[in-house]
């Protein structure tokens, strides 16, 4: 059965989510960037609920457990659609979410970035080099997600421009910044725990909490993966091959979770 890279990534993310876990997903944009930061995490959460984790909860924007079926479909970023979404709670302002985050109440948070390094430091603010600087979106709550969430699942497409030796600007701290560990920096959360890409899955089980290859997707060799990175991740003999999504996962994704591809294909 054929499947898209986004569908595979969604099933991989879904498999990482736990029953009873509270996940946070930010507000996003359209296109591939929006799919990675928002669409795939939302769809993965719903898929987890429909399969192994019925008690998984989503905090999206400033809404707790929005009714997912009212969210999907074309035009899901229109304000009238968002305003009309029913949900368990819409706290009076967004500081409520920020406090929820800083208290460490989010089990899983999702991030994407323009750059990531081997320690999982992320950059969404500035690209700098050769005397030039290119402005990106800012900081949002990404520093807090990496500081406080119990674990952070990073979704990015592999590219030597994105997987870099040193990020140009540390928007958010992974496992080491300025020569200091998370403990030394006083960061209480788990930091980045998984990196889900278009060719492979990584964790930070490498020496000194560096990025380590956990699995190549079927059809990609280790060389295919590493060729798309600006640094060499730790590769040990424990990495696996991740096969295609099973038929039931694909059926749920196509028929129930995201029938129009608005979320995971970034066409919303």
């Amino acid at each position: 059965m054929s499947y898209t890279t986004s569908q595979l990534m969604t099933t991989v993310v879904s498999s990482l989510l736990g029953d009873g876990e509270l996940g946070f997903v930010g507000v996003g944009t359209s296109g591939r960037a929006g799919a990675l930061a928002v669409g795939i995490p939302l769809a993965a959460g719903r898929l987890a609920q429909l399969t192994h984790a019925p008690g998984y909860d989503t905090y999206w924007a400033n809404m707790v457990n929005p009714v997912f079926d009212e969210l999907v479909g074309a035009g899901w970023l229109n304000q009238s659609r968002i305003t009309g979404l029913r949900c368990a709670a819409a706290p009076p302002d967004i500081s409520f979410k920020v406090d929820t985050l800083a208290r460490g109440r989010f089990g899983a948070a999702f991030s994407s970035a323009a750059q990531i390094d081997r320690y999982g430091n992320l950059n969404i603010t500035w690209i700098r080099g050769g005397g030039r600087q290119v402005r990106l979106v800012g900081s949002l709550a990404q520093p807090e997600h990496l500081a406080f969430a119990k674990r952070v699942i990073v979704l990015m497409d592999l590219s030597p421009r994105s997987f870099v030796t040193d990020v140009d600007y540390v928007t958010s701290v992974g496992h080491r910044s300025r020569g200091m560990t998370r403990d030394e920096l006083g960061l209480p959360g788990g930091g980045p725990t998984w990196v889900v890409t278009d060719r492979a899955l990584f964790d930070f089980g490498g020496l000194g909490s560096t990025m380590r290859l956990r699995a190549c997707y079927e059809g990609f060799s280790v060389d295919d993966v590493v060729a798309q990175m600006g640094f060499v991740p730790e590769v040990d003999d424990r990495h696996e091959v991740l096969g295609p999504p099973d038929a039931e996962q694909l059926r749920l994704l196509r028929q129930e979770v995201d029938p129009h591809g608005a979320l995971i294909e970034g066409s919303g």
Binding site: T29, A61, N62, T83, D93, G138, L140, P143, A147
Partner: protein, 289 residues
Amino acid sequence: MKDKITDLSEAIGRIGPGSSMLVGGSLLRRQPVAATHELIRQGTGDLDVSTWAASLPVDLLAAAGSMRAFRGIYCGLMQYGLAPNFRRRSEDRTLVVHDVSESVMTTMLRAAAGGLTFTPLRGLRGTDQLDSSDDFTEIQCPFTGETQVAVRVPRFEWAIVHGYAADRYGNVQAPMTRDTDDVDRFIAQAAERTIVTVERVVDHSHVLAEPTRTYIPHYLVDAVVEVPRGAAPCSCDGHYDHHDGFMRWYAEHARAGRTGEYLARAVRGTAEHTEFLDWLDDGTWEREA
């Protein structure tokens, strides 16, 4: 309670050049577009602007050269891409950018609301935002000894906010069903003076009947201006969506360095927001490609 009703020109005329100013709204929602256009019409410059998630107004202020500094968690046009004029001014360093993340901004605003001069935060050490401005320094918690980050609380002289409805005294009310993903309440509390544009002015009896809907009480408000569609072409939740075609057009023109034409025709070339709305609605901008 004092009657705070005035017109946009008079209200915005109170903001002097060089002021520090908070701009309300979040992303494409409830942005004070009419108030921003009026700032540009009046040529109020050298502004030190702080925001939550900024979009069109900050890009317009950047294009008009009205802004010397920016502080915020984000500036962009959501699904329409990055904010091209803001980007250019940041990249060529003619605009000072103070990057702050969400806990910094919510904490800074709440601390300003409570009259504090600084406030401690955890979780920021190791990030480069600490070097992006003089908003930050490290301190030791006097009770636990933990190294934390102290955040300076700036002075916010003005705020401009677009709300749903208010009475003539400035009690600003929200509908029961709305999008709460913003910090307008704290913006009004943090600023020394606040100008509110609203979709409609309602009788005080409406406020008295449902006081829990008042998210900005009148004593925080210095001026109330009724500006229907005051956030257009951005959205006002519960009232209207953003204008998809226009936002696409704006983003394309801004990327091409043509926002000056928009400012000349639709902002400086109009006397008030109703004239801007006529231009937005008649669609001639589409043919001005």
